[in-house]
Symmetry: C2
């Protein structure tokens, strides 16, 4: 029998992101044993009973001890502490990677604290659904999606190559990107839209000129548009804190465009309004 | 055989909005003959062949001459001129209504110009899809939707009651609202979100720090969120011009909330960020 690419895989945080990677590698026959590590016993037991993982433990040190690859899929704010703790219990030559949606501020804490002989490869699969927990995991989550890896000058080339293979096996197109660029791109296409949606719902919900809540009048368009304002407040607090500089740059850029549009409305400049809307429609239609 | 509520109905602009009202009244057996009026011969012929209307003409004066009810479903910017022209060719006692998404500035032009004996009832069905044209019309578009009527002190009570019945027959809940409130509510739940979506796509699309277009990296969330930025630029130019004051008020309100959020991000105030996101999530979840 062919040796799997990863004889022993440890997943820290067995939710949608972590569990789906385990299932994808299992489906491809490229993983031997999968250890699920987490703080919540109930979620771990669900993961075990669903076959997402083969063994479970709440003890990080025990769970990562003999792993060839450790994948961290915990919230962004906890990533540095978990990564450093895990690294100190991993075997020499083992590889550590993550799925965090912010890289710069997280890497700045992790890289200087890594012990010799542990290879860290920062990653970010661009995938997800609104669901969470082990029962949300499925083996095709990463199929036809992108996974961004952000190697630094400290990243081991062989470790990078292995992590790249892992995501390709899961079905993703792997893109290498500089850390700073990753954080700016994600601020633009993901973090900024969330800030805008949260602000929009709060602005409309706060409008108190009339007795009733005018959100009651919202129809399908508003509801679709603001769906992302239902996202987890803790997760988004952490992202806003962790990607502060890139996010502030993007909010500023957005404010300038909205300000320009507002001025065109104020002046009643139909020609400029038409141009503004047309340009947006053309950009939007191009990514359909 | 029971007499239908509307013996002769004229629809000016036989697209999704106008055509669907005709079909709903036909399905209910509450309309005798439907005349379709428009400028585009091809669309009118489609409407005729699909049975959306029973007779077609490009001559407004001819089309509205013997109608009991005339429904205007033309773009907002053309509404005043079309309404005034139609009113001058309608029979005494006939009723004119519309489906325009802005009321104040449109009414200010129409009401002083109406001839004696023609009853105008301003309306706005809150329904629609991305599609347009006669072939997009269907008889259940207005089912379980809201239709806002904005009677003024000049509105005839019997005419209002008839238009109310028409929308109820089409399946809608009819809400009476002051003109100014209508325009503010729509600015908040519909016009502002469109301005925000258009600005977001233009801001992200303009980001030129990197050679490639970062919109290429956008995943499902961004695409869903910005779907409304694909809307018709002409229609939105007209709405932005026609509802200027209410829209400027709402853009200003939104800017204050985004500015508050930006300041919390800048200060790294996790507690306030969490509160902001949680408040938004709770409002959004309440309208699910």
């Amino acid at each position: 029998m062919k040796q799997p690419l990863i004889p022993k895989l440890a997943i820290v945080g067995v939710g949608l992101i972590g569990g789906s990677l385990a299932l994808a590698l299992k489906a491809a026959g490229e993983v031997g044993e999968v250890v699920g590590i987490g703080r919540g016993k109930a979620n771990l037991e669900t993961a075990l009973s669903l076959g997402v993982v083969d063994r479970i433990t709440t003890d990080l040190a025990v769970g990562v001890a003999d792993a060839d690859l450790v994948f961290l899929a915990t919230p962004v704010q906890t990533l540095p502490a978990v990564a450093i703790a895990a690294a100190h219990h991993m075997k020499p030559g083992a590889i550590l990677t993550d799925g965090g949606s912010v890289k710069g501020s997280v890497l700045a804490k992790i890289e200087p604290a890594l012990p010799e002989g542990i290879h860290f490869v920062p990653g970010h699969p661009i995938a997800g659904t609104e669901k969470s927990g082990a029962e949300a995991a499925f083996d095709t989550l990463y199929q036809d999606r992108r996974c961004i890896l952000t190697p630094t000058e400290k990243t081991d080339a062989k470790a990078l190559e292995l992590v790249r293979q892992v995501w390709q096996i899961a079905g993703s197109e792997v893109v290498l990107m500089e850390v700073e660029k990753h954080d700016r791109v994600l601020a633009a296409i993901s973090h900024l839209p969330h800030m805008v949606a949260y602000s929009l719902v709060n602005a409309v919900g706060s409008y108190d000129r009339y007795e009733e809540n005018i959100l009651e009048y919202s129809a399908g368009g508003f509801r679709d548009f603001t769906r992302i304002a239902s996202s987890d407040p803790t997760m988004w607090r952490d992202i806003a804190l962790a990607n502060r500089d890139a996010l502030l740059e993007m909010v500023g850029l957005f404010e300038r465009f909205l300000g320009e549009l507002k001025e065109d409305i104020r002046l009643g400049d139909g020609e400029r309004l038409y141009e503004f809307f047309l340009r947006s429609k053309q950009s939007r239609d191009a990514i359909l």
